[in-house]
Amino acid sequence: MPIEVKNLSFTYSAGTPFETSALKNISLEIKNGEFIGVMGHTGCGKSTLIRALAGLLRPSEGSIVVDGSDINGRRYDRSKLRRKLGVVFQYPECQLFETTVEKDVAFGLKHSGLNKDEVTERVRWALEICGFDFEKIAKASPMGLSGGEKRRVAIAGVLAVKPEYLILDEPIAGLDPLGREAFLELITGLNADGMTIIMVSHNADCIGEYARRVLLLNGGELVGDGSPQELFSDVERMRSLHLGVSRSREIAWLLKKGGMDIPQDICSYDRLLPAVLAHLRGGDEHD
């Protein structure tokens, strides 16, 4: 069952001199198993949108329906949503607080109704897919880990509840290139297993390579909803929204401008490189 967002608006500090409208009349539908990238300039409403989707903010207007029930409905049980939808906030390593890694990862399972062995099994699973050796890390204090390890522990804590929907806010900010790749591989793997991914990122490369659908926000309004190929094709428009396109797309665009015949729906390197090679080879044949 999908997430349906209808005419969603959100206003901060309504009725005071500081009234600001963060979201304006947003409607969209998220199907199961999608990999969605959310892009937008600073202050465009991305964070507000994900908080509203996660049921952490009550929208001023409009509704959010998850799996057929309105999450802001009077009788809706929010704890159901918490088990269904996981959120990895920006710099999630800040949320660690327990004395051991195992306890911290198990925190979200407290009210899940699983017995002790099942909880341990879940924690083991979550830590292992996040690249840890369970036996080695379980009893360690989360505070003594490195920044990158802390982040992976925090993410394991969110994954431990096996959410159907996973929202990520700038998950790769501050990670080194290797950590970034490993993380995106993990997310892609989860997506392949059926988890719906909604990822906010400034990084057009990562959106271009991994997301199948992109939402563009500007000034609280949804100004684009489509595949990265569609949205990145208009480089100038993306720039007018203060957004970049993936570097591979930009290279394709510049090559075209320079007179090379390269398809303009490329936004990942694994399509750009063969296209450039084909072009160069084609050029050879003409000679």
Partner: protein
Amino acid sequence: MSMTERMTGQFIPGASLLHSLDARAKLFGFILLTAAVILADTVAGYALIIALMLLLTAVSKLPVSTVVGSVRRMFWFFVIIFIMNCLFYSAEDPIWSWWIISLSKAGAVQGFNVMFRILIILVLSNIFTLVTPPLEITSAIQSMLKPLKLLRLPADDIAMIISVAIQFIPTLLQEADTIKMAQIARGARFESRKLHERAAAMLPLIVPMFLSAFKRADELATAMEARGYRGAKHRSGKKAAPMPAGSYASILFCAAVCAAEIII
């Protein structure tokens, strides 16, 4: 309440007379008026204070709901203060008494006095912070602390500590908000009704907040040292402008109110 909403008493920019006064004058006036409130103990005195509150609210051009915002939230606090004073005031002629509890007219009056004073001081401080930017408050405190230097107290350092603390409030609040949301999303139950559960539920919020506050303090200290901070004593500052005549007049006005309360 979401912490992204504005807190009560947070500065609201404006162009009223109160906004334009010098922060030092406002701080001094605030202290004088607080003294006046404490000195008030007759009906006429109270009437003067209430009239003054109405006047200040009108002059500040702030909506009344904003000015009394925090009072409404503390309703039960006032009720409890009143009841405690009523019951535990040891008067000579109690109407009714049992064990250490005694009910008397004097107790009720005392309860009302305490409640009234706290309430007015709360509103007064609310007005003060609503019309004065936090940084101006700090520099006003700084100039108020100057005489302490004569006693060899590190007034500059104290002022620096206060100003750093004040500047970190919005950052820490925002962070608390993010961490709270993250923990709720993980299934933390801050809204639990059972008291012991609620206390335990605060741990996921408090531990990360402390850790991050220490980390920030450490980073700030390093950054300050890296930029050559060697104690506030040798720092040059923005040369404080002399107070305009209007601000002196406002101090005089507050002093007059204070004097009137002594006389009444």
